[in-house]
Symmetry: C2
Subunit: 210 residues, 2 copies
């Protein structure tokens, strides 16, 4: 499986997309399903994915994304929206989903639900959001590797104004917050960044055996 | 590449490991290299990996990990340690590494370094840590998918006491903080969790097209 390393060496944060190329729907379906299958704490998957197809909305988002061309030029644009708060209602719905999926009786996992609620309620609202946001980042890792395996280019972005995104995408009254943006598509031949050598700190500084 | 979906469906958070099975060194090497190749903001890779080989230290960590058996029973145990603060010195070292790797003259990327420092210094120390921690979570996603591709089992864990980990692993004077723990190995036949149906919210709740 040396392909894992080849895949990860192949990828880079794409600066300029080929605007003529579209990712086929069956490959988009794989990427979104991979995101949905991401591991998350207690399986809560405390985020959702907005896929921005509207060219008009992509134009609106661009000035609040450091004017990066990827926002409008990439084949697809995803916004990872994390739950602002982890609520008891959300945990109850998740618990019911677990019970249903695993053919358990309703209420059988009440102990689990109570345990999760206890853990969540130890956290401040700010920490709840951070916890949710971190789970989005796991999914981003899964997306990056899945894209690389499929030879689809990607640009993960933190350089945007979440408040403006929230406003434009109507997230403010939905308990959601724009955490991450990711453009997907195919690199332009003109993107000189693709030729740059990948930079990583040496293994001796990265790994320590104890 | 339907294998991406198969891989992700194959994995689960392993509860009980087969204590007789060890991951071969060449596969561990792939996993650690995959972690090192993880995407991160500005390529800073603001974390390091501790691989805990000492059985004695693993025993010491266990009571501070909700007494989970994976801590001592799994083939390998990784602790993701994020930088507590992002310092100017760290950014300068990274910038020099970029210059060296890409055969640029020293100082040529001073503008980049200044830009990153400006962005970092907008953040409080707490937010710097959160930012660093989030990058660790991207790497966790990469690790989860790489493990699944290699049919290596894994248990990502947030359920541990970071202060105790920091103390036992001597991280307090190293600008590092234990962010995540991940056990790696092979599932025990007795682990009944492997037979549970995976639970994910339906696509209609997860994805929204705008």
């Amino acid at each position: 499986m040396q392909t894992i390393i080849e895949d990860l060496n192949w990828r880079y944060a794409t600066k300029k997309y080929d605007t003529t190329k579209k990712i086929p729907q069956d490959q988009i379906d794989i990427l979104i399903e991979a995101l949905r299958l991401s591991p998350s704490s207690f399986g809560l998957l405390p985020f959702k994915i907005l896929m921005i197809e509207s060219a008009e909305i992509r134009e609106k988002l661009k000035p609040y994304s450091w004017n990066q061309s990827q926002i409008t030029d990439a084949s697809h644009l995803l916004v990872f929206c994390s739950l602002r708060e982890m609520t008891d209602v959300y945990i109850d719905q998740h618990t019911e989903l677990v019970e249903m999926t695993r053919s358990l009786e309703k209420g059988q996992l009440q102990g689990f639900a109570n345990f999760v609620k206890g853990k969540v309620n130890e956290k401040s609202k700010v920490d709840q959001y951070e916890w949710n946001a971190r789970q989005s980042y796991i999914a981003l890792g899964i997306l990056m590797q899945s894209c690389a395996a499929l030879r689809i280019d990607a640009t993960p972005m933190e350089g945007f104004e979440p408040e403006k995104y929230n406003e434009i995408l109507g997230l403010n009254d939905k308990n959601l917050d724009a955490t991450l943006v990711c453009a997907l598509g195919y690199r332009s031949e003109e993107d000189s960044n693709q030729h740059l050598k990948k930079v990583r700190k040496p293994m001796s500084e990265f790994l320590e055996i104890v």
